[in-house]
Symmetry: C2
Subunit: 440 residues, 2 copies
């Protein structure tokens, strides 16, 4: 790959409180897909304007004109096998929803043919909305999980994919013995756990109520042995908190921590709606990442995570779509909901201000991106994950660049995304045709 220089209107967040804005700026990307630098002065980037006119040059200059160039978004919490259920059964409460819709649907992923048909569309739609990296829950099924990982590789998108570990409080067809779970993981680890790989396994106990102590212990051991990241759910609703206390005789975060599943390796925990006090302090001390899922908070009526408080306390926070508790895969929409949920906290208690656009953007790009490496910014050394936005239909009057970005976040959709890059490579539309060698 040649060194590339992209010219466009560049916006990104180094710090959460403000946008870096470069009108007609340049970003230089090395042959490995890492950012060399960003500037409005081409000469400071070790290239000149003639670069693109010289076929012999080792640098290619690509001019995106008046378009916006921004870091791609990252989705820190999404259930791939709930793709079919996206946007249905929203009138149900959590328990009947799990029993009637979620578990029966996940059982269908025993069939890799069905899995491929759904997963191909799921990966295509992540791509559509500009999500270049995701932390993904699959199902307990090793074969379908392997297939999903191949589909991410084929697409060129980054993903941490978790075969789900669960062996209690779930239907027979989704329960696995600890030994089966470990064997399945070892298979996936052998095939996928390469350093620097875009697609890697992530240890995924569904949540404490679904896992016996033996299962949780085995998960912690897997994570430690292979230095794998961990993902799960934490403190989403009050009944769940009480249940965990009964099962483990300790508070929720401490239960994960006991088994080495709480920051001993990089860990992301979804929801944290009722996280406070000692749980918050342990999250901070262990560097656990919070995946805030505001659409899900509203749809499932679980409560609203206190994100401003988490940011004030210095916790790491990113955003998640939580399909299908959340209904929208578009992380830009999830940013809007994050701001709105924080406004609801603000409305109750004016002591803490609501989230600004730059904070929501930073959470979805640089903060969430840090879970995947140096991802989510255009600072030197960052992997070039980026979107080119043609907002000409939204930009019908004299708007400033930050206003154009705000309008894209609030009003735009996949139609305005005209190029997508992951680790420096342009990612083209994934194929959805059902004709893959993985379907065995």
């Amino acid at each position: 790959m040649k060194k590339k220089i992209y010219k466009a209107n560049i916006l990104y967040t180094k710090e959460k409180n403000c946008f870096e804005v470069l009108e007609n700026g340049y970003v230089a990307v090395d042959a490995d897909g890492r950012v060399i630098g960003v500037s409005t002065d081409l000469s400071t980037l070790g290239a000149d304007a003639s670069a693109h006119r010289n076929a012999e040059s080792d640098t290619e200059l690509v001019d995106f004109g008046d378009r916006l160039l921004i870091p791609a978004t990252n989705d820190l919490h999404v259930h791939a096998p709930q793709y079919r259920n996206q946007g249905i059964a929203m009138d149900l409460e959590l328990l009947p929803w799990l029993q009637k819709y979620t578990f029966p649907e996940e059982m269908r992923y025993a069939d890799t043919g069905y899995a491929e048909r759904m997963y191909r569309r799921f990966v295509r739609d992540l791509w559509r909305f500009g999500t270049m990296r995701a932390c993904v829950f699959a199902t307990t099924h090793t074969a379908s999980t392997r297939l999903l990982m191949h589909l991410f590789q084929e697409a060129g998108l980054g993903a941490l994919v978790g075969k789900v570990a669960m062996n209690r409080n779930c239907p027979e067809g989704l329960s696995e013995s600890v030994e089966e779970m470990v064997r399945g993981y070892e298979e996936l680890i052998a095939e996928f756990n390469q350093p620097e790989a875009l697609v890697r396994p992530i240890v995924t106990p569904r949540f404490v109520p679904s896992c016996t102590p033996e299962m949780l212990r085995a998960c912690g051991e897997l994570a430690a042995k292979h230095q794998l990241p961990v993902q799960s759910h934490l403190s989403e609703n009050k009944d769940e908190l009480a249940l965990v206390q009964t099962l483990e005789s300790i508070w929720y975060g401490a239960a994960y921590n006991r088994y080495g599943l709480f920051g001993q390796t990089p860990t992301v925990m979804a929801h944290c709606v009722y996280t406070e006090g000692k749980e918050m302090r342990l999250i901070k001390r262990n560097g656990v990442m919070v995946a805030h899922c505001p659409t899900s908070n509203l749809n499932v009526a679980s409560g609203m995570a206190p994100i401003r408080k988490f940011l004030d306390e210095g916790l790491r926070v990113g955003l998640g779509s939580d399909i299908s508790g959340g209904h929208d895969l578009n992380i830009f929409r999830v940013m809007v909901y994050a701001i709105q949920v924080s406004k609801m906290h603000f409305q109750k208690n004016h002591a803490r201000p609501f989230l600004t656009l730059s904070e929501a953007f930073w959470m979805a790009t640089k903060s969430a991106g840090s879970f995947f490496g140096r991802v989510g910014s255009f600072e030197p050394g960052y992997e070039f994950d980026a979107l080119v936005i043609d907002d000409s239909d939204l930009n019908h009057d004299h708007y400033s660049l930050p206003e154009r970005l705000e309008r894209y976040v609030y009003l735009g959709d996949d139609r305005q995304i005209v190029h997508r890059f992951c680790r420096g490579k342009e990612v083209l539309k994934p194929v959805v045709t059902f004709s893959s060698p993985f379907c065995v």
Copy 2:
């Protein structure tokens, strides 16, 4: 116009609690654009399957195949001159937002050239999202308001358009004397106030704090004299409530009522976030329509209107986009937000269940539609306002018809709307080119 029979998968709400669902159903529409009947049996609709094969027949049969046919949506509260500000300045609170963005923008509508450029796009975008009727705030400017009404006529969409009356607590350029206000209204009334017209004037005092008692009295007299409907804002935030109490020495709803602006003619009041007790009872007694604007409730952080309570009490409730306090013109998205806001109430107090999809749909179609006549349902005698939805991209597995509709509401956008009808006529995409005879 010939009698028409449309075949499709038909969904609509007679009552708020459930959908009427006709798989491969027919709806017959008379030459005046009114529904004759709906059935799965063509013979009961006074036609047979040969209708479309017989050019001599007085009935044309149009087959929409597997598509969904639903009532079009209605927007009960939208500020047309805030179209440019849609999706910007969302980090600001109400007062600086009004001073820095809203009022300066509205002042630009003194220029009908500017107004036409913005209003044409606004009308086009209402059309895009399937809104066939709207209650619209314009500005104080009579010429621009007239222009907007012509654009609605040209487009073939239904609208009640209000020249805004205001003469205090606003910039000089937006203030008008009572005499000027009345003169402007009389002009618009002379031109547009035809019975049965799709586009009519609506008396629009901005809200009590912007109008002196003389202005409010003149508004009430105009409404009574010409039997015009009325729209305004009510009980959106607590400071506003206190201000009205100071200005009028009475509670908010009673202030409008005192001037004949609270149901003496058909009246729609936006927000009603803090409406309770006697205000709620007066709204009910006077048949005032509540325009619930959930996106605006969240964006402006004013609080969340207690819609379940209003429905339980038998109040009339519809939905509004409230551009640009709300950010989304798409009333299907506003339905989603209405459900989510009600879930937030539910989460605090489980005594009242959250809104269901059919309730949100009913509010946006039949309930809101009742403000425009017999609009928003497919029952006999209703004006045929309808959308044809091609959801083939969302319908990738075996979904039931209600699930298909739910997925469209939660996941769809304007791309799936393939036909739009207002009062029986198909409405084609409005022109946005800036070359109109109205620009004088």
